[in-house]
Subunit: 360 residues, 2 copies
DNA sequence: TGTTAGCACTCCTCTCGTTCGAGTGCTAAC
DNA sequence: GTTAGCACTCGAACGAGAGGAGTGCTAACA
């Protein structure tokens, strides 16, 4: 079956109306609100075709139609207007953040909050993983007799700190001295590179013989190896409760619990990250592998440091979500923070990994 | 009307049964399940009295009774068993945390998570405020040409960091030197004490004349003054969705949104903090000032550093909550971390501020 | 005097049938 | 190709009625 211009108009009308009302859309509604020069009967025929193509579906016989995952996919890829980026509030608010020298993690948090309030959906931000970050500066600080604090400044001015156990008390002067040496040896390297062999090498080079020093180095290396805090920041989860598709409390609960399980989210989104190019990535309904997300859509942007992707910012909402608004917001964000995003792709940058959706 | 032993038994039976079922309790149920030697008619008479005393209430004429705020208050103050503390799982799990030298804030987070999973309610932990904390150690670290990082270690090994703008680039050696001086001057003081006059004094003492130095000190003082991050950590919010009293999604939403507004929570709980003594504090239903919490109860423990209260750990649940379990869990916690809590009060430490509840 | 059986009454909840209306598919006419 | 008309479907809304849990009151009993 071929795809006429009119069919596309009708599909778009259904999507628009369903976005507003969250109720199945009937032929009459479209005839009155969108295509006044056509009768409902004509539209009925076209809708029948659209259903056969798998772009819309019928909850039950005597109901209107709702868009399917495939329908939304077509809308997002071909129909959606992509040029209204900057007359959003985004720009104004973003500018507030832009000027300050900030730490990447708090910037990301603020962006997450902002996107959640702006879109009224839920945002999920994966924080940069320590292991993949490069060390800028390192500093040992005295804490008490049994421990010191190791402060790490990495890419994007993120500050992390860990308690390091001490075999024997050490004063701040010696801690400073060690810090200096370690800085020379380690800064510029990624944390993942700071493995045992490297530490051994440092030990040899420094001709470390004192037991104290040796145990300290071991403790540091141990801490770095085990510090894998792929943190996830979520904002706007309560927005979920205002969508009619989640008026069933069990559904709402299952989704919210899923979103609050950091490890799961991390796993989910980090698999996405690998597959996607510079632009936005949209996953619609059943395109999501995970059961709980089958009636949700996720729009994801990767953020970078230098030329490496180091994390993602996602907006999660019902499949019915206002894709245009979400995409605009994210693209506005990407324009406003060119240092944080790849900006190669431009308009046609929306990518889709593989169409292994499970529509009928 | 006088309060017979039997009336208390009946009240307790109602509370117990309502905790389990979340449904109004009838006289017949009590006669069968709790007081088999009394007929339902007798119990009806007693229940009528209890209602007149305002301890229980009737949702509608032909329904059973549910406990009122006042009823729960009496239960908590007089009836509840208080001795089964340590056969809980608490102890075992807590021990995992106890050994390590940890930072207070992450310890509190873990405690919050633990209490939420243990009680199946929601926990709210207010983090120590920077202003009220004492400085242990301070360190400036180079970041880039325009900024340095100020790392503060305070009471409880909490590490905070702030970006400090620099007028001119400074190398790490000079930053170390300044750190040393500031450490001598400031460590041991509370952050609130580090106000402008003190900074001025330091400037004079150091005979600071260089513009660079002066602007740096100003920036530090400015940062400290404006850093008021009374953070709130919440865990187990989704548990709310499993209580029948919040099966109405609007109610659930209103509560969850309230709990996620950090500033509001902070305000709410910090007013509690002032009024309460060493032990646990329980606020039941309408005893809460805030509308959204009128059918919730909150059990709060203050935690301390040295002899100052610096924050609170609260469990929030429906008014029907299992007070005994929650109190046990919190008291177990307090026993396991004697450094973190005042342990003067002991058993009768539950306090109540003022009985301005609004029961009929 | 306290306890209990009995009974009328209330009122919520559940179920079932009915109606209503939105929407469809099909057919025939334009 | 478009449209009017019509029969049909099916969910949502409504109301009546049954059922049941629970109460309060009264009268009898120990």
């Amino acid at each position: 079956m071929d795809m006429s211009e009119r069919k596309l108009q009708i599909l778009q009308a259904i999507i628009l109306n369903y976005l507003e009302t969250a109720e199945p859309v009937g032929s009459r509604t479209i005839s009155r609100r969108f295509l006044m020069d056509l009768s409902s009967a004509t539209i009925r025929n076209e809708m029948s075709d659209l259903e056969e193509m798998g772009l819309i579906e019928q909850p039950h016989t005597s109901a209107g139609r709702i868009p399917s995952s495939k329908g939304y996919r077509l809308y997002v890829d071909q129909l959606m207007k992509r040029d209204t980026v900057d007359d959003q509030q985004v720009g104004i608010l973003m500018n507030l953040l832009k000027d300050k020298t900030v730490q990447l993690d708090s910037l990301l948090r603020e962006i997450g909050d902002l996107l959640a309030t702006l879109t009224k959906y839920t945002t999920v931000v994966t924080m940069p993983q320590l292991k993949r970050s490069k060390l800028k500066h390192l500093q040992l600080m005295p804490l008490d007799e049994h421990s010191a604090i190791l402060v790490l400044v990495t890419d994007g001015n993120i500050v992390r700190n860990h308690v390091i156990p001490l075999q024997h008390p050490m004063d701040s002067t010696s801690l400073y001295k060690i810090s200096d040496v370690l800085n020379q040896e380690l800064s510029g390297l990624s944390v993942a590179q700071m493995d045992l062999p490297l530490i051994q090498k440092i030990k040899r080079e420094l001709n470390v013989d004192s037991e104290v020093m040796e145990s300290l180095l071991d403790a540091i290396s141990d801490t770095l190896q085990h510090a894998d805090d792929g943190d996830v920041f979520t904002s706007g989860t309560t927005n979920i409760l205002s969508f009619p598709e989640f008026s069933d409390i069990a559904r709402a609960r299952s989704l919210m619990e899923f979103l609050s399980q950091k490890d799961q989210m991390l796993h989910l989104i980090s698999t996405e990250e690998k597959t996607s190019g510079p632009g936005l990535k949209i996953r619609i309904g059943t395109e999501n592998q995970i059961e709980q997300l089958h009636d949700c859509s996720i729009v994801t942007a990767n953020y970078r440091y230098g030329d490496r992707t180091i994390g993602t910012i996602s907006v999660v909402g019902p499949m019915r979500m206002d894709y245009q608004k979400v995409v605009s917001a994210l693209e506005g964000l990407m324009q406003d923070f060119p240092d944080l995003f790849f900006t190669g792709g431009g308009h046609n940058a929306i990518t889709q990994e593989d169409t292994n959706g499970r529509e009928t």
